[in-house]
Symmetry: C2
Subunit: 327 residues, 2 copies
C-alpha cells in the first residue's frame, strides 16, 4: 500500500501501527525515528521497523507516508527538522488527540505538494512506550481524519484505506468539531480522573491506604485513565483549552445540581438521573465500543485478583478504629 | 458453619452469597425472601435457596444468620416485619454501602439477644438482580464489619470466619470511619460518573451519538459504574450525605485548581499532578485489588470489540461537518 512508512515517535500508538503494518504488509519498509536513543534502541530490540535513526530529517527521506506519533507539544520542533526533507506527494499525518490548534501551528510549515491529513485513532491503553503496543489495538475502533477541504481527495482516500486495513472505521470531520467531541469524550474524563486520583493522593497516609484496599468499590475504575502518559496529556490540555473549559463548565453546572440533590435529599431527582445514565452504557455496548462482560471482564476469584491470602486460609482480620462512634 | 441462613433481598450481592454458601456448604439451609414476587420466582428458578417466601417474618424464623441484602432505604420497613421473629442468639447483618445512619436507625429495633453486626462486602459489578450474582464475587475483596464495641466478640468472630470462607479479607472498624473512607472510595466516584454520563445524556442527539462512537477514548470507563442500580445508589446518597458532601468538597477544590491550570496553561503543574497519580494505580495493583492487564483486560481485536464491520471489508467512511474551519 505504501513504499516507505516513517513513524516519528514509537510509543503505544506508533509501535502498534508498526506491528500492524508489518503483520498486514501495508508498507515495504518502516523507518523509525525518536528523540531519545533509549527509546530507539528499545524499538530496534523489538524489531518494530527496518531502519532506525535519531535524525528525523533522514528518516522521512523518500517516505510516502509520515506519521507523527509524538506528544503534540513537540510537533512544531519536529516539523522544523523534517519540512525540508519531505518527499513531494507524501502524505503527512499524525495521531494526536487535539487537531485544531495543532493544524494551525503546522500548516504554514507543510511544503507545497505534501498532503497534510491530520488523524486521531480513538484507541489506546493506559500503558506507554514501544513495548506497550500491539497490532490489534485499532480493530473495531474509530479513526478520525481532519483534512482541510482543499486537500487532495485521492490522498485522503489512501489514508482512509490505510486505517481501514488496520481494522479501524474511519470518519472524516473538521478539526473544530473533533476537538469539541473529544473534549467531552476523552479530555474531560481524563481531567476528572486525574483530579479524583489527585484528591486521594492528598489524603493523609492512613486514609489513603484504606482507599487503596477498598478501591474495588468504584475508585479503581478512575485510576486506569489517570495512569496515562503525563506528557501527552499535559499537551492535550495545553492545546485544547477552550473546548475542555467549555465541556468542563457543563460538567460542573450539572455537578452543582447533583450536589444540591444530595444536600436537600432529593431522592426522586437522583433516581431519575441514575436511571437515565444506564441507557448510555447500553448504547456504547450496542455500538461495539465496549464489552458487555460485567466489570469490563476483569478477573474474579483468580490468583490475579487475590494476592492477599484467599478463602480457606484464616482471613486477615484487623481491628482498628474501634473507638465505637456510631455516626 | 450455620444452621439456617436467611437472605432478605436476592440481587447481585444476595445471590452471590447464596451461590458461594451453597458451593462451600456454609449453611445447612438457605431461606430467601424478597418484596417482589417476580424476583422471588427468579431466585427459585435459579435454585439459589432451599425455601422461598414473600413473608420476611416467616423467613427469619429459626435462622442463626440473617443478612439484609436490600437497598438500605427499605431496612427500617424490613426490620419492623422481622424484629419480633428473630431467634435469640442470631446474628443480624447486612451488606449496605452506608453504615452510620443505618445503624442509628436500626439499633433501637434490634431485640436483646440478637447480635447486630453490620457488614459491607467491597465487591460488585454494574449488573443487578438474582441472575447477576456469581460465587467468586468476594474472592480477594475486602469485607468491612462495623459492630459496636459492646457486641459479643464470639459472634463477630463467627461472621469474620463466614466472610473469610467466602474468600474475603475482613476488617473491623467503626461505622463513621467506614462511611468517610467509602465516600471517597466509592460514593463520590459513583456521583461523578453518574454526573458526567448525565452531561452526555443532555447533549444534542448528533453530538451524543459521536460521544458513543468515540467513547473508547476515556468516557466509556465512567459508564460502567454509572450503570449501577439506581435505587441502591439513591439510598446511598440519602443516607451518607455528610461524608459525601465533605469528600465532594475536597474534589471540587482540587478541580478548581486544575481548571485554573488549564486556563492559564500551567503545563508544569499538570505534568506534576499527572505523574503523581500513576503511583496510586500501581499501589492498587500491588495490593491485589486491580488487574495489571492493560485496559482492565478488555478484549481487543475480537468480534466482541468489533460489532461494526472489521478490517478487510471496506471501511465505514462518513464525510460530515466538512465546513472546514480549522480551529
Amino acid at each position: 500500500m505504501f513504499e516507505k512508512l516513517t513513524l516519528i515517535g514509537i510509543g503505544l500508538i506508533g509501535s502498534s501501527i508498526a506491528r500492524a503494518v508489518k503483520l498486514k504488509g501495508l508498507a515495504k519498509t518502516i523507518a523509525i525515528t525518536t528523540r531519545k536513543s533509549a527509546t530507539l534502541e528499545e524499538a530496534r530490540a523489538l524489531g518494530l521497523g527496518d531502519s532506525y535513526t535519531l535524525d528525523a530529517a533522514e528518516a522521512v527521506e523518500g517516505a510516502d507516508l509520515v506519521i507523527l506519533c509524538t506528544p503534540v507539544g513537540v510537533y512544531a520542533e519536529v516539523m522544523q527538522q523534517i519540512s525540508g526533507h519531505l518527499a513531494p506527494g507524501a502524505i503527512l499525518s499524525d495521531v494526536g488527540s487535539v487537531k485544531g490548534q495543532v493544524m494551525k501551528a503546522l500548516e504554514p510549515m507543510v511544503p507545497a505538494g505534501v498532503h497534510f491529513i491530520p488523524g486521531h485513532p480513538i484507541a489506546g491503553t493506559e500503558h506507554s512506550g514501544p513495548s506497550a503496543g500491539f497490532p490489534d489495538l485499532f480493530v473495531g475502533r474509530w479513526c478520525v481524519l481532519t483534512p482541510k477541504p482543499e486537500v487532495d481527495a485521492v490522498a485522503v482516500d489512501r489514508l482512509v484505506s490505510f486505517w481501514g486495513a488496520l481494522g479501524s472505521n474511519v470518519e472524516v470531520m473538521d478539526a473544530a468539531h473533533h476537538d469539541l467531541v473529544l473534549a467531552i469524550t476523552s479530555h474531560v474524563p481524563h481531567l476528572i480522573a486525574y483530579n479524583i486520583v489527585g484528591t486521594v493522593a492528598d489524603l493523609e497516609a492512613a486514609t489513603q491506604s484504606e482507599v487503596i484496599k477498598f478501591s474495588a468499590s468504584g475508585f479503581r475504575d478512575f485510576t486506569r485513565i489517570a495512569a496515562s502518559d503525563p506528557v501527552m496529556w499535559r499537551d492535550v490540555f495545553l492545546t485544547n483549552r477552550e473546548a475542555v473549559l467549555e465541556m468542563l463548565g457543563r460538567f460542573l453546572e450539572d455537578l452543582s445540581s447533583l450536589q444540591r440533590m444530595v444536600r436537600v435529599g432529593d431522592g426522586e431527582g437522583m433516581q431519575a438521573l441514575f436511571t437515565r445514565t444506564r441507557a448510555i452504557r447500553r448504547s456504547i455496548i450496542t455500538a461495539g465500543q465496549e464489552t458487555a462482560a460485567p466489570d469490563f471482564g476483569r478477573p474474579h476469584g483468580t490468583p490475579e485478583a487475590a494476592v492477599v491470602p484467599p478463602t480457606d486460609v484464616s482471613p486477615v482480620m484487623v481491628r482498628e478504629h474501634g473507638g465505637g462512634e456510631d455516626a
